[in-house]
């Protein structure tokens, strides 16, 4: 299938339709002014490992772009001390912040550049999109991502960007300390009340607390009842993280299957261990990442978006 056909198929299927340029672009952008020297552009590219530097005016409006090939030409001509204004491309192909995913893909296909600046209506530069940004966005938008070995954890490392926030600024923290199954579910009950207080709507509160409950029960049944339940809840988004100290999930793909469980008969007698915990979590969350392994701690991170019901 050609890229053109793939783009057509994407449009037809409505895949990734929620991704626009502003949600894909990276906003940590380095730009220079026209009067800066070519040498500065070269240094910036080398230090930041980037292949193109956008040039902006005093109001941060995009006026040009200096690519690696322009730098090479300038080097050959001995023009490193000249202003970038004299070597930059002026008719830059840029994307608009609200451009659709298909438009972005078409742009990469038509122009064969490695990167595109993203501008607002007034021409101000707000971000850059590289092919890596597009790939990351596709992976992020998958319904679930399961990571169960170190190699994949490194590959998908950028996803833990969310998680770092938990160290410093979780809105809700509950230490799971469960004896048997007696107070299992206490943390999720508290979380539910917390989310209701914060003014979240009933549907998202229900989805989040159901998932918190399932994850908490898993900690109680499988991980000796020791773990934590934390949440960051703001701007119509709830991020939940449930962690334990092991013994971990040996085969996450199996654990995701409905009806598959390693719970004992005694646990099943009580109506647990039906193998519906993780499948329920997948069903009710908008994004799900599970990191675990044999004899490893398990981390389950779930994202809920208000209005996604």
């Amino acid at each position: 299938m050609s890229l053109e056909q793939s783009v057509e198929a994407l449009r037809y299927l409505g895949l990734f339709s929620s991704l626009d340029a502003s949600s894909i672009m990276s906003t940590a952008v380095h730009a220079l002014h026209p009067e800066d020297r070519v040498a500065a552009a070269r240094l910036l590219m080398r230090e930041k490992s980037i292949s193109g530097v956008p040039i902006v005016d005093a109001d941060f409006r995009l006026v040009g772009l200096v690519s690696v090939s322009k730098i090479i030409e300038a080097l050959a001509d001995g023009r490193l001390a000249d202003p970038v204004d004299s070597v930059m491309t002026r008719d830059v192909i840029s994307l608009h912040a609200h451009d659709s995913f298909e438009t972005i893909l078409s742009c990469f296909q038509r122009f064969k550049f490695g990167r595109f600046p993203v501008v607002e209506d007034d021409g101000r530069l707000v971000g850059m999109i590289t092919d890596t940004d597009v790939l990351s966005a596709i992976i992020r938008s998958f319904y679930s991502v399961y990571i169960h070995d170190q190699r994949r954890a490194v590959t998908l490392g950028s996803f833990s960007a969310l998680s770092k926030e938990f160290e410093s600024s979780a809105d809700f923290v509950y230490d799971i300390r469960c004896r048997g199954l007696e107070n299992a579910g206490e943390g999720s009950a508290q979380l539910k009340a917390f989310l209701q207080n914060k003014g979240f709507g009933e549907p998202i509160v229900r989805r989040a607390s159901v998932c918190a409950y399932e994850a908490e029960i898993n900690v109680c049944i499988h991980a000796g009842g020791h773990g934590s339940l934390r949440a960051i809840a703001r701007n119509g988004e709830i991020i939940l993280r449930v962690e334990d100290e092991g013994p971990g999930i040996e085969n996450i793909d199996l654990a995701m299957k409905e009806g598959w469980s390693t719970a004992t008969d005694a646990i099943r007698e009580l109506g647990f261990g039906a193998g519906m915990g993780l499948p329920n979590i997948r069903r009710f969350s908008d994004h799900l990442v599970i990191i675990s392994g044999k004899d490893k701690p398990t981390k389950v991170e779930m994202i809920f978006l208000e209005g996604k019901e």
Binding site: E182, I217, L270, G271, F284
Partner: protein, 110 residues
């Protein structure tokens, strides 16, 4: 109908009298807690043979209006205490969950 109406019509014993003016809008019968939490609608009457304290946790999480413990089973006192705290009505019935469900269906719960 309300929890009060369910109590009247089922002729079940009241183990915990919670908020009996709560509306009952639907019914669910199941003993697998994950199923209940995923599928029972808020405002349901829930028929089950489970009797441990997590029944109350699940009921509170879902927003169950009344729990009917079937087959003549009874709960430990800590379970009832927990239900009292949640203002959740718990009934004991000698009937099976099937029969209880049938009775609730005839009452008009769908």
């Amino acid at each position: 109908m309300t929890v009060h109406d369910v109590i009247e019509s089922l002729g079940a014993d009241v183990a915990v009298k919670g908020d009996t003016t709560r509306l009952v809008t639907s019914g669910y019968a199941c003993d697998l807690l994950s199923e209940v939490i995923a599928k029972a609608a808020p405002g349901s009457a829930w028929a089950t043979i489970q009797t441990h304290v997590n029944v109350i946790a699940v009921a509170a999480m879902v927003g169950i209006s009344v729990v009917i413990v079937c087959e003549g089973r009874t709960c430990e006192s800590d379970v009832l205490e927990h239900a009292t705290k949640e203002h959740l009505t718990v009934l004991y019935s000698r009937d099976s969950a099937y029969t209880v469900s049938g009775k609730l269906y005839l009452l008009g719960l769908r």
